[in-house]
Amino acid sequence: MVTASNSRASSFGRIVLYAVLGLFCIYYLLPLYVMLVNSLKPLSEITAGGMMSLPRDWTFAPWLSAWSSAQVGVEATGLRPYFLNSIVMVVPAVALSTLVGALNGYVLTKWTFRGSTIVFGLLLFGCFIPFQMVLIPMARMLGLMGLAGSVAGLVFVHFVYGIGFSTLYFRNYYAAFPTELVRAAQIDGAGFFRIFLRILLPSSGPIAVVCIIWQFTNIWNDFLFGASFSDFSSQPMTVALNNLVQSSTGVKEYNVHFAGAIMAALPTLFVYIVAGRYFVRGLMAGSVKG
């Protein structure tokens, strides 16, 4: 934005600028670095100390172990089986809450009615409810709905508590969308869904990315719901990772723990790295303009 003048002083300034930015890169990367180097060391090297040092003996064994043979329950299955459980849960939950958020945002900006602002406010306040509080009543409701201990139940729970934020994102995005276009289409005889599908949805890419990243990260990383509302067949990745890391007795295999932790984080990391650029674009396009 700011056009720097081309004097020599500014080239010194540029060096300082890059140095500062580089320093912050180190700050943000350090924990990941520690996890990565220690996941590639044999355990004896870790216990001997030197958290920051590079492995003397590079080994990939902890990764293999975390994936397929680490003890996370009675059987030494590694994290592999739980990966699928997480994906089966995350994909529908993200899709559902994004779609519903888009529809809600559409109604709340282009089809406003008396009290629609209050409705939005009420939906949004739902974001702030502490999840620990809803555990017991939610369990009861899931039981009544016959969804206890099932993937469908987990999807439902994540969908319910994802509505607030996804509605917020889409509403703010659509608010900046020219209402004249909607009105013109309406005069041409287009109905509610037709306008949504033909006019708003095609241009919703950036905000959909923001919403998907947000929901995906939150749902993938959730532990509390995943542990409480699943049963033996549907435990997600985070629960398995927790079982791996939190084991009460016995030698703590830190290298395996770190490998497992990075592995569990790979999907979200992947999403951030791949979709990162669209993320800022999406934020730009709406949600922070209000």
């Binding site: 620990q132 509080m133 939610m138 703010n172 984080a265 993320f279 949600s287």
Partner: protein
Amino acid sequence: MSFSEKANPRGSVGDRLRDALPRLVLSPSVAIVAIFVYGFIFFTLYLSFTDSRILPSFGWVGWHNYDNLFRIRAWDTAVSNLVVFGVLYIAICCALGLLLAILLDQRIRAEGFIRTIYLYPMALSFIVTGVAWKWFLDPGIGIEAVVQGWGWTDFKFNWIKDREMAIYTIVIAAVWQTSGFVMAMFLAGLRGIDGEMMKAAQIDGASTFALYRRIVIPQLRPAFMSAFVVLAHMAIKSYDLVIALTGGGPGTATELPATFMYSYTFTRNQMGIGAASAVIMLMTIAAIIVPYLWSELREKK
């Protein structure tokens, strides 16, 4: 306000259905939120007046749970910790986020790469990074040991073991996680600012600092507001973080209302007291968020 009503003259059932369609589409969400958010809030409110221990039970005990709650020292600690944590966390995240956004906005060569590095912590939960953070902050093996190993033997960084300072280590880790995200929000805001205005101000001879203070930052208000909602929501829900880093310790020095509520409801079998703390927590949230939502939403009309 609503052009849909004007556009559709009242008449047949089909027309009326078309009229009601937007509201019909919205209604499942409204119903779900009514039950699963507001219904549960009332349920919790009710529980806070009952003798619930291990499971919900419906013997009325009046204000008993609230009386007990305020007699528990850990609750005071939790509340004052939330104030310290919340204020510092939101302020530092905003300041750092803004600084990084401005720096990154100077036509940086590898912007996309650097941005991803700043942003990625948001992708990781504290179940993932908890152990690494614990190591870092541990004086025996972490930063302190490493820096001492470099020769500065006087270097001390043992906050996590110190009752007075431990809460600040929580701030450090929390800022690490979210400041990049806030940076992205501000960066998006900066990109949306009209370049012409800036050029005009520059030609007028305004210094870079004045330029930002007078023109850029005021225009970032919406970005600031969005950041505030996200940060406030994170601060209030901070739970994993504390459990991963300190488990509430040393002693009860880093207890937060979320950890307090969880521990009373689930590990201490005092569901009534847990519910009472949840109610107080919610009321505090409402006191902060509702006026904010009110002002934001009203303005836009």
